[in-house]
């Protein structure tokens, strides 16, 4: 966490003259210097970092250079939107991916399996922002039934959720499929079948539970990736979430917001990795001792 904050901080400082960027390229040298002083950008970088980190620890990320609010208020406003979107997209892809992956695993290399895998490979190759624009063209412009930009109503979330779901579906489906294939081959499945349990009960109760383990573990990490990659999609759909905030702030050289954003996204990632480990251990008793 600390390392992320340091690296994020240094990268931002090292990659250009912030004061110059804030003032604009055509501004006078005196103005640039005045800004440098006003924001404390003339101090050594270690001092700048320690000052920022100390305040950040107390929940104070400083003030935005553009918005009247505190950075923490801004992030608190925008974060739920991004989290919701990520959760919706992931949820949709799990609801679709689990049954399809299971079906595909029942007959490996069967027709359904091949069709599904082919579709998945296609889906993986689509850039998400392009898919977003295609959906906008079709549902927003040609059919005119869904709003294309903004985040005011639930209808605004349909298209972005669809894009996210399609983007994560390949991973979920593949993992479910390979997990199921492994599970169905295992000894305990043969035992369950030998006991005379119905096929549905064998598949759902015995095989799926084991196949789920890697899926759940990856799902948490995927959520992190979705949230981290929210910049692009939120820009396409004009959703007022964390990613869009980051994008706006980058373009305004609003560095307190950008720094806080990097830190929050890093924290979310660490948290989700931890959650994934815990879930893994909960689901798989074999891992608990380690």
């Amino acid at each position: 966490m600390i390392a992320v904050s340091i690296v994020g901080f240094i990268l931002l400082r090292a990659s250009g003259d912030l004061a110059l960027r804030i003032a604009g390229a055509e501004s006078l040298t005196e103005d640039v210097e005045r800004i440098r002083l006003a924001y404390g950008l003339d101090r050594p970088i270690v001092i700048q970092y320690l000052d920022w980190a100390w305040k950040a620890l107390h929940g104070d990320f400083g003030r935005s250079l553009f918005f009247p609010e505190d950075v923490s208020t801004l992030i608190a406003q925008r974060l739920p939107v991004t989290l919701w979107l990520g959760a919706l997209g992931l949820g949709a892809s799990i609801i679709i991916g689990l049954p399809l992956g299971t079906l595909a695993a029942l007959k490996p290399n069967g027709i359904l399996d091949r069709v599904l895998l082919g579709t998945v490979v296609l889906g993986q190759a689509m850039p998400s922002f392009w898919l977003g624009l295609l959906l906008i063209i079709f549902f927003g412009l040609t059919l005119g039934i869904l709003p294309v930009s903004g985040s005011e109503t639930w209808r605004h979330f349909i298209l972005p959720t669809a894009v996210l779901a399609i983007a994560t579906l390949p991973t979920i489906l593949r993992l479910t499929r390979s997990g199921m294939i492994d599970a169905l081959r295992a000894d305990y499945i043969r035992t369950a079948r030998a006991k005379g349990l119905s096929p549905a009960s064998v598949i759902i109760k015995h095989a799926l539970r084991n196949a789920l383990i890697p899926v759940v573990a990856i799902a948490a990490v995927q959520l992190g990736a979705l949230i981290g990659g929210s910049v692009v999609l939120e820009t396409v759909f004009g959703i007022q979430g964390l990613g869009y905030l980051a994008w706006e702030s980058i373009n305004r050289a609003d560095y307190p917001v950008v720094q806080a954003n990097v830190l929050v996204l890093g924290a979310i990632y660490c948290l989700l990795t931890f959650v994934s480990d815990v879930l893994h251990a909960l689901l798989d008793p074999r891992l608990r001792d380690q």
Binding site: L12, P127, F129, W130, R177, G228, V231, V262
Partner: protein, 300 residues
């Protein structure tokens, strides 16, 4: 009485495989054939395509603005129409292919070098070095890559060079993770111990015993990361902080076409389609190579 000539089958060692068998096994994999074929087509058209067209990718023509592609009433002069500045869209698409391929290759070269070096060294020596590398991987994974890349590109001024450099410095994690794990496994195998016993230097052991054995995995990761690099690069260009105009990157072309989304949707669909074909071919190729070299993992 005639003696029939008996054909003697050549005895094959169990597990030995002739070059012909290998070729047959590779060519019977649909991923390799389709993916490799598509990839070859993309490379070929990107390399020589621009020379075969009447217009180049940069010539603007105000009278030929936004000409539609052939299937919706265009002429053969501009098979895929023109963009908002009257530039031949096919030529730009092909040129964009060059850019994407270049970005992809340079990125995996850089990322692969960084990641493999870190991973192999960490796996080979273990201990404190391993700890440091694991820590670096953790930090890298926790950094929101796209966001950082955007911020750096904004502050440093976006350019093609910077884009490749950033992607290379951001996408090495998978190389490192896998080469570390593989090296850990290989380190204690007999042939490495034997090499150590006859007094090979660490460098020789890594070069002759470790690297050749993990090469397959590295190539598979390289395909994944190349697809990844192309997608991220186009996303950055789409947001205006990657490849800069007038260069025709596919992501940038989509961004430029966004304003004409209502009447000239081909400006958006075509570059995306091109990108999809490239990424798809690379992914298929990678999957195919994995299936052939590591049959255990088939279909994952």
């Amino acid at each position: 009485m005639t003696v029939e000539k008996v054909e003697v089958e050549p005895i094959e060692l169990l597990g030995a495989e002739t070059a012909r068998d290998t070729a047959r096994r590779w060519l019977s994999n649909s991923g390799i054939v389709i993916g490799g074929g598509l990839f070859f087509l993309v490379v070929l058209s990107a390399l020589i395509g621009p020379y075969l067209l009447p217009h180049n990718a940069f010539d603007q023509s105000l009278i030929a603005r936004l000409r539609p592609p052939m299937w919706s009433g265009g002429t053969a002069e501009y098979p895929l129409g023109t963009d908002h500045l009257g530039r031949d869209y096919l030529a730009r698409l092909l040129w964009g292919g060059r850019l994407s391929l270049m970005i992809g290759f340079l990125t995996i070269l850089l990322a692969g070098t960084i990641g493999t070096t870190l991973g192999v060294v960490a796996g080979f020596y273990g201990g404190r070095i391993d700890f440091v590398v694991r820590f670096l991987i953790m930090v890298r994974l926790a950094l929101p890559a796209v966001l950082i890349a955007l911020a750096i590109a904004f502050l440093a001024g976006p350019s093609l060079k910077l884009l490749v450099l950033m992607l290379g410095l951001l996408l090495w994690d998978r190389f490192a993770v896998v080469s570390r794990a593989m090296t850990l496994q290989l380190r204690n195998r007999e042939f490495v111990t034997a090499a150590r016993a006859v007094g090979c230097s660490d460098f020789t052991m890594i070069r002759r015993d470790i690297l050749p054995n993990i090469l397959n995995y590295l190539i598979i990761i390289a395909t994944v990361e190349m697809a990844n690099a192309v997608l991220i690069a186009s996303a950055l260009s789409f947001l205006g902080l990657g490849v800069q105009p007038p260069l025709p990157d596919w992501g940038l072309m989509i961004a430029e076409g966004k304003e004409y989304i209502l009447f000239s949707p081909y400006l958006i669909t075509l570059p995306g389609l091109a990108m999809m074909v490239l990424v798809l071919s690379v992914n298929l190729l990678g999957d195919g190579i994995r299936d052939v070299t590591d049959p255990e993992a088939k279909g994952r």
